[in-house]
Each structure stands twice: as structure tokens, then as C-alpha cells.
């Protein structure tokens, strides 16, 4: 069978997997790139959650991070620039049995794909969306992206970007029916893994912004947060991202934030003195558009033809 290992065709027991079962091509990201960390966390998540590779799909747009599907030994779709989310929504609509992950970047998601991003948040179809935010267009060699900080010199703005950067978290929080909004950093793998795991178990559209280092073009971008842990604000709550006590102690700046409190989430997301990480907002009762799109999935082609004929017969005179 296409796409299946021969020894998987008949298997009465649930399978156990190793990391190698999810390792695709050799990752071609720069050494030191934060994308490696996310790739490793996702592979571990797939292994720990026992996701069958043939029932898992990674969808991406264009960008450094969008090479993600190539490095996973699962199904994948390396799509058009900014169009990862429509493709993923389509997959979810007619193949709700698949585990869907989306890898997109700050340029892919927040610039050319913004309209799709906003409406995908509103549709709230179950998938995990990892937005790799390195504040730069890396694949096209250092151009200003929507999240590039003001004053940073790039190839498109040699004298420094002169617009304030977009805040994807506050934008997401403002979208009606958004149901899961979290932020994490690539250089803290335990927190990254815990956040992605929480996102995977969320029943709807889980949007995770991963602050990701680009050592080549924006090497100093997150240096302050790496060298001074007090600049990172860890949001904790029993309903938030579950982090063990040992890890919590490494963060000296912490705040208790209830993910049901949307207004407080705005307040935290707007802060510029610290980098908040954790779960901003979660609403498991939000409506799911895929609960409508999956209707009639078990209809056979013959039944469809028959139904269409019957419908047309109503107009026969």
C-alpha cells in the first residue's frame, strides 16, 4: 500500500514509535537555527502521542520554517506563500481523521497570509499551527517582515525598519471564536514541548507563536532574553501550559494568568518590557467549523449521484 510500511498493513496492537520513524530528510537549516529545536520537539511529541505517520500531515507555506514537512517522515504539503492554512482547513474538512500540523512563519502568516490566518482562527478547525517568528525574512536573505522590530536594519530598510511591529498575539486575541493562543521560545525545549503538547490536545485551532532565533540574520534579536531569564515572563495557571516545578524555578519573573481571562491576556500580550510565554487564552467551548464540514463524509459516489438526480428531478416539469 502506498505510503505504508509493509509490516503496518496488518497490526492488531497499537504501535510504538521511535524518533527515527518521524525523521525525514536531513534538515537543511543553518546550524544553530531555532527551527531545529521545534523540529525535535514535534518529533518527540509525535512519538509520545503515538501518532501513526500515515495519519499525520504537515502543511506549510513558504519560508525557512516552511521546509518543515520535508523533514518529517509523514504526509506533507509544501504549499504556496501564505496559503498553508486554507490547505490545512481543506484537509481537516474532509479528512478529520488526520492529525494536522501547520508550519508557517512570520512573513508567511502575518503578511501575505493574514486574511487566511484571521479566518482560520475564526473557523476554529482542529489543528496545531506553529508560527515560527524570527522577526525577519530569512529565506530571501534578511528583509523586513511584519514582526521586525523598529529600527532593525535590513536589506529592504537599510536605515532601520520605521514601522512598529505587528503583535500576532494581540491580533489573534481580537479574532472572535479564537480558542487557543500560546507563545513559547525555541531555546527552552521543555516549555516548547509542553506548549505544543497542550496545543495538540486542544479540540480546536491551536495557535502557537514560537519565538525563534535566526543566528545568521538576527543573531542578537533574543540575546537579552537568553542571557537574562528575568526578562521572560512565565505565565502559570492550573489551566495553562503544565510546567514542572523544576522548570518554573528557572524563571524568576512569573505571573498567575487564567487562560479564560481574555482581557488580562491582552494586557500581558501588550507588554514590551518582558517576553511573556505560556498560554494566553483558551476556550474549549468555541464553535468548530469542521463539525459542519464533516457531514456526509460516509456518502458513496453512487449515493451522491443518486441524490443529485433526485434533486434535479424535483425541477422536472
Amino acid at each position: 500500500m502506498l505510503g505504508l510500511k509493509t509490516d503496518w498493513v496488518l497490526e492488531p496492537e497499537p504501535r510504538d514509535y521511535a524518533l527515527a520513524d518521524y525523521e525525514g530528510c536531513q534538515a537543511k537549516w543553518c546550524p544553530g537555527c531555532g527551527d531545529h529545536s521545534v523540529l525535535n520537539a514535534v518529533q518527540r511529541l509525535c512519538r509520545d502521542e503515538r501518532l501513526p505517520p500515515e495519519q499525520t500531515v504537515f502543511v506549510s507555506g513558504i519560508g525557512c520554517s516552511s521546509r518543515f514537512p520535508h523533514y518529517m517522515k509523514t504526509y506533507g504539503f509544501h504549499g504556496l506563500h501564505g496559503r498553508a492554512l486554507p490547505v490545512a482547513s481543506g484537509i481537516r474538512a474532509r479528512r478529520p481523521d488526520l492529525n494536522i500540523f501547520v508550519a508557517t512563519g512570520d512573513g508567511d502568516c502575518c503578511s501575505i497570509g493574514t486574511a487566511h490566518w484571521i479566518h482560520a482562527l475564526r473557523y476554529n478547525m482542529k489543528m496545531v499551527v506553529m508560527m515560527f517568528d524570527n522577526n525577519i525574512y530569512g529565506l530571501t536573505k534578511k528583509q523586513t517582515s511584519p514582526t521586525t522590530r523598529r529600527g532593525r536594519r535590513t536589506n529592504t530598510h537599510p536605515d532601520g525598519a520605521f514601522l512598529s511591529p505587528m503583535n500576532p498575539i494581540t491580533v489573534s486575541l481580537g479574532v472572535p471564536n479564537a480558542s487557543f493562543i500560546a507563545q513559547t521560545v525555541d531555546w527552552n525545549p521543555p516549555h516548547l514541548y509542553a506548549t505544543l503538547r497542550e496545543a495538540f490536545h486542544h479540540p480546536g485551532f491551536a495557535f502557537v507563536r514560537v519565538m525563534q532565533r535566526c543566528p545568521h540574520f538576527t543573531g542578537d534579536n533574543f540575546e537579552l532574553f537568553q542571557t537574562d531569564p528575568s526578562k521572560i515572563l512565565l505565565m502559570t495557571h492550573p489551566d495553562g501550559v503544565p510546567v514542572d516545578d523544576a522548570l518554573i524555578r528557572t524563571f524568576t519573573t512569573r505571573v498567575e494568568h487564567d487562560p479564560a481571562d481574555r482581557m488580562n491576556a491582552f494586557n500581558h500580550a501588550m507588554r514590551e518590557d518582558v517576553l511573556p510565554i505560556g498560554l494566553f487564552y483558551r476556550d474549549e467551548e468555541a464553535e468548530h467549523y469542521d463539525s459542519y464540514t464533516r457531514e456526509g463524509l460516509d456518502t458513496t459516489p453512487a449515493e451522491k449521484v443518486e441524490a443529485m438526480d433526485k434533486l434535479l428531478d424535483l425541477y422536472c416539469v
Binding site: P31, G34, H36, S37, N40, W187, P189, D313, V317
Partner: protein, 737 residues
Amino acid sequence: MTRQTRLPAPWRFYLGLDQPEPSTDWYAEALVTPARPEHLWRRFPLIDNGDGKPVPLPRVLFDALDKLEAEGAPARIIAAHRFHFLKAAASRGAGFQSDETFTAFEAMLDLSDAGREELSHEWERLKPFLPLSGHLLQPDHTLPLWLYRESLNARFSERRTAWCAELKHLADRLLDILRVEDGKQPRDAETLNAVLGKPGELFDTEAMATILSVPKGTPTMSAERRRRIADTLSVLAEFLQNPVKDLILCHRESLPCLADHPMQTASDGFQRAAEIFSGRVERLNRVFRAVRAARLELHGDYLPERHDLLLARFDWRDCTEDERFQLPQILVVERAEYLKGEHLGRFAALTASGLPLRVLLLRDAIELPDPNLGHIDIASVARACRGTFVTQTSTARPMHMLHGWNHMLEAIGPAVMVAAVPPDNCDTPLLLLEAALMSRATPLFHDDPNAGAHQAERFSLDGNPDPEAALAGDPPVTPADALSLLPRARHHFLPVTEEEPATAPLPQVLSSDNEDALPVIQALNEDETSRRVYIDGTVAGWCAALAADWRILQEQAGIDNPHAQRAAREAREEAQAELSQKEQEWKQRLEDIRDEAGREAMTRLARGLLDLEPDSLLPAARPLPSPTSPEAAEEPAEEVEPKPSPQAEPEEENYSEEPYINSAMCTSCDECTNLNSLMFKYNGDGQAYIADATRGTFEQLVSAAESCPAHIIHPGEPRPDDATATPEVLQRAAALP
């Protein structure tokens, strides 16, 4: 001992008076607490605005007064005389809806001109907060039927209207099909004349009719289908013109009536109800079938060979949730004391019929058992048929009654409500109803067979005052206290004289604390001096029977259940025994440990004093070797010394000398593995660790630590034979974070 045949009436309760007006020389002392006006007069009369939720009139007024006060414009005069205001509103049966209430209220007060003007302003301010329309309800025998209609309207009207609209929609679409079909008929000259006007000079309609005979290729409807659609249409149209109606059957014309609800008088209501229901539901069955046939026809799915038989077998028992609300609600209203002889048999037959018929039995809140029939609990007779919904309620608790109606009207099978009402010509209806409730003469309950398979799920005593006690109130109110309010029952009571033998309060006698004493209840004279009153054997037996009934109800509701108590007692004893055994075991173990510790202390003391080898003295006291420091076991004697353990320091030094990676924080970025894939490797989680530090140089370790984006590589100290550990590299290593 002379029996007193008539005793004066107890004090009267009037709505709107601050103080009760005693018009008697004695009354039952136990009723002082429940009869306290503020407990009762806030509940009635109810005002019903037609929304299915009647609320007490006093609460409406007080809420309105509170709102005015909150707005900073209090109605001081009305608030000060609110009881008179309520009396004016209630006595005319019109609530607040007319200025007549205000005029009557004003007449009660002796106000100056300025006061009247101020009162008028207050009335204008208050009016917007009061319901200007509504019907006043008293706790009499009309209340159950009023609430029945409210519940029926609230739960059924909207659904029935929606269903009729759906039927009309179906009928219209069937008509459309027939119209289209009519258009396919051959167009003769007459038809064309009708369309084109009179035969003219330009058109030869006959010739045209031959050309336009039948459109080629158009399928026409079979005659059988056309007849079927026409039949379906006629059934739907007939129902829409004349829908199936509800009905109330009363035995006597003197029973309460609802002006706008169809009612019939029937001497055999229980039997007639089943007949009427069968007749009306048969018509409804045809409608249900027609609805299904219409839906199939609209989609062209009707297959005679399959659906004819299916529809012929269809009846109301197979209907949907929406259609169940279209079934006619037939209610039989009867006085409970009428259920004797053959009527009791017909009543039992109705409850066993399984038909969704409703029965309302009105019973006096307080009544002594019939000397010929004995103590029959009519609610228990209804509960004998397990599929019947039974509720016993009281007009003193209208919300409980409304709740009962809501459940009854949605019950799939028969449903019976036994409603306690005040006796005719009762001067103190609320007081009597409340006393009946507290004394358990008319306990409230619901027995819903659809709530679950177990008694605990289907039976509920919710709504009773203090349901866990034998009698409610402090002091407890007994049925005899309640009975003493009825003038016609006064001959059952007799004042106690000084020479009488030992007596005991009735609650004590009922709880079997003092069975030998004569039961008495306490009464007060007009001047509030206490007085004891005997009760006769009839009343005492009745009270005991009611107490036994209440105990059974408590047991069924899961309160004071002997089975559960026995099980709990056994479980407690078992747990206690297990606890005792554990205590013994632990005590023994503690003793053993003490002995062992004592021996070990003595051994060590002896070893310290004599400087002997421990092995030769007591091998059993030898400490276990530590897995991290195997050499520690070889010098156990030094542990006696209070100085710090000598092996701790070298272990810590060794730890800091070795290079290591905090693998959990590794970002798998390939920096280190690209540098030296023999020294740095990935573990099972894909995170780096130092596999073999001897496969690389100290300089590589330092370079890897410098390039590691997560800053988690610690190069440690260089090996002595490592030539790359130059001063420059050592300096770089020292600068690492």
C-alpha cells in the same frame, strides 16, 4: 369528664394586618410559630401575568418599593402602610391594575390634604414598577386548575403552533405538485380560450390545441399517486381547520371551571376519559400518517409496496417528540373522597391503562379517615401502578404544584396529582394548609417513573419543611394541632383538668418515648395562659397512621433508611476493627524498632569505648554501603565522628571536572555534532550529550560551548594529557557563562 362539643374558632389570619386578631379564647400553641404572619402572608395572593410564572403579590410590591428607594425617591407613606395597601389590592381581586385600589387604600388612611397630595405623587411614581394587569390567585381549590392551564399554555401552545405551521407548509407544497401536474394535462380549446380570451379571428384555438396537446417527454403522475396526494391533503386540511382539542372532565358542576377551556361534566370521568382519548387520538393518528406520507411524496420517495404497510401500522405511540405535544390532554378532576367502590376500581384501571391521561384529585388538607373505610392513602393507590407519574402537592406551595404540572404534562403514561386544598368554609386556609404540611398530614412528593429505575432516583420529598424530621416546627406541629383549627372537629378535643392522670405531649407519644401517657396538645387562652387539651382515640390513631406513612416516605426518599443505616453501621465496625488491627501492628513494630535501635546504640557506644571492629561485635548493625561511594563502607568507624563525611568533597570535585551537557535544554541545532560527531551525539530524544569526552579535545569542547545557542555545554577541566588546553583556550573556557 364532660366532652366539650363545640370550641370557639381559633384566631383568624387576615392579610394586611400587622397583628393577628384573636377572636377566640384558645388556640393550639404549636401553631404560634408557623402561624407567624410574616411566614405566611408573603406567599399569597399570587398574581399571574399570563407568563406561566405566578409570583406573590406582596413580593411584587416590596420589590417595587425597594427599587424606588434605590432610585432615591422612596414612597414613604405607602411603605409605612404597605399592609393596608396589600389588603386594598387583594380584597378587590384586581391587584394593582386600577386606581380603585389606590382609592380604597387612601380611604383607609386619615391623611391631611398635603398628605393626600404626597400620596398621589408616590402612587404615580410607584405605578411603573407594578404589573398593571394580572389575575389574583388564592390558595383555594381553583388554584390547581389555573396552574394547569398556565403550564399547558407555556409548554404546548408554541409547539403546537409551530407544528401547525409545518403542516400548512407541507400542504402548500403538495398543492404545488398538483398544480404542476395539472399544467401537464392536454390543453384543449376551452383551456386555450380561457387563457387567450374569446376565439378570435387571429387564433384558431382548436388548431392550436392539437399542436399543444401534450409536451413531449414530460413524465406525468400516476393516478394512484395523485389520489394518494389528494387524500393526504384532505387529512391535513381537515386537521388545520379543526385541530384536536384538549378537555377537562368534571364529575360535578360545582367543581372549579376555567372559562376559556373546554370542559364537560361526566359522572364516570375515569372511563369516559379513556374513550374520549381513544377517539381523538385515532383522528390524530391519521394526521401523523399523512405528515409522513406528505414528506415522502415531496421527495418522491414514496414506495407503495413498502410505505403503505408501514404507515398503516403507525400510531401515536411511535410519534416524535414534537408530535407528542399534539396529543390531546384529557384531564379528569375529582374529589378524593369520591373515590370509593367502583370508582376506585375505574381509577385504578385508568392508571394501569398506559394512556397519557391526567387526573387531578382534590382532597381536604386535613380530614379524619372515614370510619367505614379506614385510613386510605389515595396517592399510594395511584403509586401502586409503577408506570404512573404521581405527585402529591398542596395549594400552599404553588411552585411545587406548577413543577408537578410541568412533569405531568410531559409524562408519557398516566399522571395523577393529589392536591391538598383548604376545606370549604375554612376561615384560616393558609394556616390550615401550612399546619397540614408541617404535621405531615399532606406531605409533598413527586414519584416520576421516567426519572430512573431506582426508587431513590424517581421519588423525591423536595419542598417539605424540614424533611429529615418526623414533624416540622419548633415546637413540632402535629396533625392534631392542625385538626383543632376545624370547627367541625372540635368534639375530638377536651381540656385537661387538674385531677387527670399522667399526660405527655403528642410528639413524645408519637415517637414512642412515652407510650403509656395520655397524649395532649398545648393550647393558649385568650390571655395567653397555657392550657393542655386531650385528644381522643380517633385522632391519636390517625396521627399515628400519618406518622407511619411519613416514615415510609422518608425511607423511600433515602432519608432515615434502615437498610442504609445497617450497612453503614457494619462498614463502620469493619473499618474500626481494621484500624485497631493496624494500630496493634504498628505498636508492635514500633517496639521492635526501639529495641533494635537500643541495641545498635549500645553496640556503637561499646565500639567507640573499646575501639573494636564492628564486624566482630554485631554483624547485623553494619550500615549498608552507599551506591555512589563504595569506599565509604570500608571505613564505617569514622561515621561516628561528628565531622563532615570525607568522601563528599572529592565526589563534588570529580563532578565539576567532567564535561557535561544539560541535555534537557538542548535545541538539537547540530552545532556541536557538526563539530565532532564522535564526542557529541544525540540521545533517544534527539538531544545532545557527551558520548565520549576522550574522542575529542578540550579546545573542541570550548568551541562547542561557545557556539551552543542554548549555552548548555560545560567543558569542565582539561585532561592532563590534552595538549590543546593552552592558556588562551583556558581563558576562553573561563569566560563562558
